[in-house]
């Protein structure tokens, strides 16, 4: 209970600042309209008009809330105007991409710790891959995949995997290498094989590291799926909503889509966190 008060205070401050910014940023348009009509607007008249525009520069919090409400609850979930529909399109690509990225990341990490050649060759490439701006590489992936007849979910999932494998590789390599010298020596006195060392020591020891990187990875996956929807002018998905919103100046739609993405991201990270808590507790690693 005590911790909720500071949180609410911060939220209240943000909302207040947001309203102030909305008034300030949308005022120009109101004044222009008034000047065109040859009238003067007083401050009392100005404020309500800045907060009730159809295409404001910065929508007010209640407008975004209404946009979100309409999008989530005001439509059939199969409708093109439903945010649930668009969120699902993006989410499905996110989850497939996250699955591919996590699988690939774990495989690479296992290779890296067991094979000196992979250790020296894979990591630099993995790091280099992340220095290329995703906005530059996403259109290429989409175009190449389209040209071989693959479109829809898979190209987006690939981009999503491209972003999410990296934190998993880094986290898993660290985790699989986390057992100290003594723990490894102990297995050596048992004459344990490499695979026994992996399954009985390295893998369980890496679990906390894996979950930490999965949290980063799943958020990155969502970003990847949204970015994957931008270059093609896709008709569905949160990325498509963002893009259409900016074509037509539908700022409320943009913000509603942004908030939906944030909510989905928070939910995904929360789910990973819950799985983490359960798994580590069952392993006896959480106290």
């Amino acid at each position: 209970m005590r911790s909720i008060l500071p949180v609410l205070t911060v939220v209240a401050v943000i909302v207040a600042l947001w309203y102030a910014a909305a008034v300030a940023m949308n005022a120009t348009w109101v004044r222009d309209q008034a000047a065109r009509a040859g009238t003067e607007v007083s401050f009392q008249e100005l404020v309500p008009r800045t907060l009730a525009q159809d295409r404001p520069v910065l929508p007010a919090p209640h407008q975004v809330a209404k946009g979100l409400w309409d999008g989530w609850a005001g439509q059939a979930v199969t409708s093109r105007r439903s945010l649930v529909y668009h969120a699902w399109i993006t989410l499905s690509a996110t989850l497939v991409g996250f699955g591919i990225g996590t699988g690939l990341g774990i495989l690479l990490a296992v290779g890296i710790i067991h094979n000196r050649a992979m250790d020296q060759s894979v990591m630099p490439w993995a790091i280099a891959s992340q220095t290329i701006p995703i906005l530059a590489i996403a259109p290429m992936i989409i175009v190449v995949m389209n040209s071989i007849g693959v479109s829809g979910l898979l190209p987006k999932a690939i981009i999503s995997a491209y972003l999410s494998f990296f934190p998993v590789v880094v986290g898993m390599v660290t985790g699989l290498r986390s057992p100290d010298r003594m723990q490894l020596d102990l297995l050596s006195t048992y004459n344990a094989s490499r695979s026994q060392t992996f399954w009985k020591l390295r893998l369980p020891a890496s679990m906390p590291y894996l979950f930490a990187s999965l949290k980063v990875g799943i958020a990155a996956s969502l970003v990847g799926a949204i970015v994957g929807e931008l270059p093609t002018g896709a008709v569905a998905g949160l990325g498509a909503r963002l893009l259409q919103g900016s074509y037509y100046g539908q700022t409320i739609q943009i913000w509603a889509a942004l908030f939906t993405a944030a909510i989905v991201a928070a939910a995904l990270v929360g789910i990973v966190g819950a799985v983490q808590a359960v798994v580590l507790k069952r392993m006896g690693m959480a106290r």
Binding site: S188, T189, N191, K200, P204, A205, G284, M285
Partner: protein
């Protein structure tokens, strides 16, 4: 058994030397070490920090490799002996896996060595009893005190019934009372099992109380300065530590340690 009959040492070191190559040049951790340990011996290694006690124990366990001389375990190289699972090693820290229960930790070597499941259960139960941890099998390591964890790690080393038990300052971090109890328990266990034990310690009374053979070492380079065959009987109540014999041996160990130190100056 035949080892005892033929009188072949279980551990036989001849002119063993071990040099670590480090960035600051070579470190002579062991030099000219000669030692024979017979079956059923309880050997303590004592000496100032850095004299190579851990290194020698690790060399016996094939965790380090001598750069000179000849080291044999059961007539084999340490590596061959390791592959035949000739020893249980107890490290200074208990090093239990936090994701395994106490029973699970003790089961670890048994799983690795492929013991059948019912046999695993039986052995886990037996060694838990041996170290007086019955009823703690289902607990996780962090739920146990340091002394209990250390006993669990000893149980883990005993579970697969290797002939040789190597222990590197297993009770170093424990208080005097717990240490006494564990020392007694260890002697009892040794009497029951007839194992050959190599034991590193910094404590003179502990070394004298436990051992049939006390190896005094000194540093730079790490070497053996004295080997004392204990005349104490194998049956040793705690108050044997007040006997004249005990005090005489402790005195000789102390003298040996002092001599090793003055060599430095």
């Amino acid at each position: 058994m035949s080892d005892a009959a033929t009188g072949r040492p279980v551990i036989d070191a001849r002119k063993v030397g071990l040099t670590f190559q480090t960035a600051d040049g070579p470190v002579h951790a062991l030099k000219d070490v000669n030692l024979s340990v017979m079956k059923g011996d309880f050997v303590s290694f004592i000496g100032p920090s850095g004299c190579g006690k851990t290194t020698f124990l690790r060399a016996i366990a094939a965790l380090e490799h001598p750069t000179e001389g000849d080291l044999r375990v059961n007539g084999m190289t340490p590596d061959e002996a390791r592959k035949r699972r000739a020893y249980g090693y107890v490290f200074q820290a208990a090093g239990l896996y936090p994701w395994r229960t106490i029973a699970g930790n003790i089961r670890l070597p048994l799983e690795i060595m492929g013991f059948p499941k019912p046999e695993q259960d039986r052995r886990v139960k037996d060694v838990l009893q041996l170290v007086e941890l019955e009823g703690f099998g289902k607990k996780y390591p962090w739920q146990l005190s340091g002394g209990m964890q250390q006993r669990a790690s000893i149980a883990r080393a005993l579970a697969f019934d290797a002939d040789i038990l190597l222990m590197d300052e297993p009770f170093g971090a424990l208080d005097e009372i717990v240490r006494d109890r564990l020392n007694e328990a260890l002697l009892k266990l040794w009497a029951q099992t007839g194992k050959t034990i190599g034991f590193v310690t910094h404590s003179i009374p502990e070394a004298v109380y436990l051992s049939t053979k006390i190896v005094v070492m000194s540093p730079r380079p790490g070497r053996i300065t004295d080997v004392i065959e204990s005349p104490l009987p194998r049956e040793r109540p705690l108050d044997i530590r007040d006997s004249a014999e005990f005090i005489a041996i402790a005195h000789r160990v102390r003298e040996g340690l002092r001599a090793g130190h003055s060599y430095d100056d």
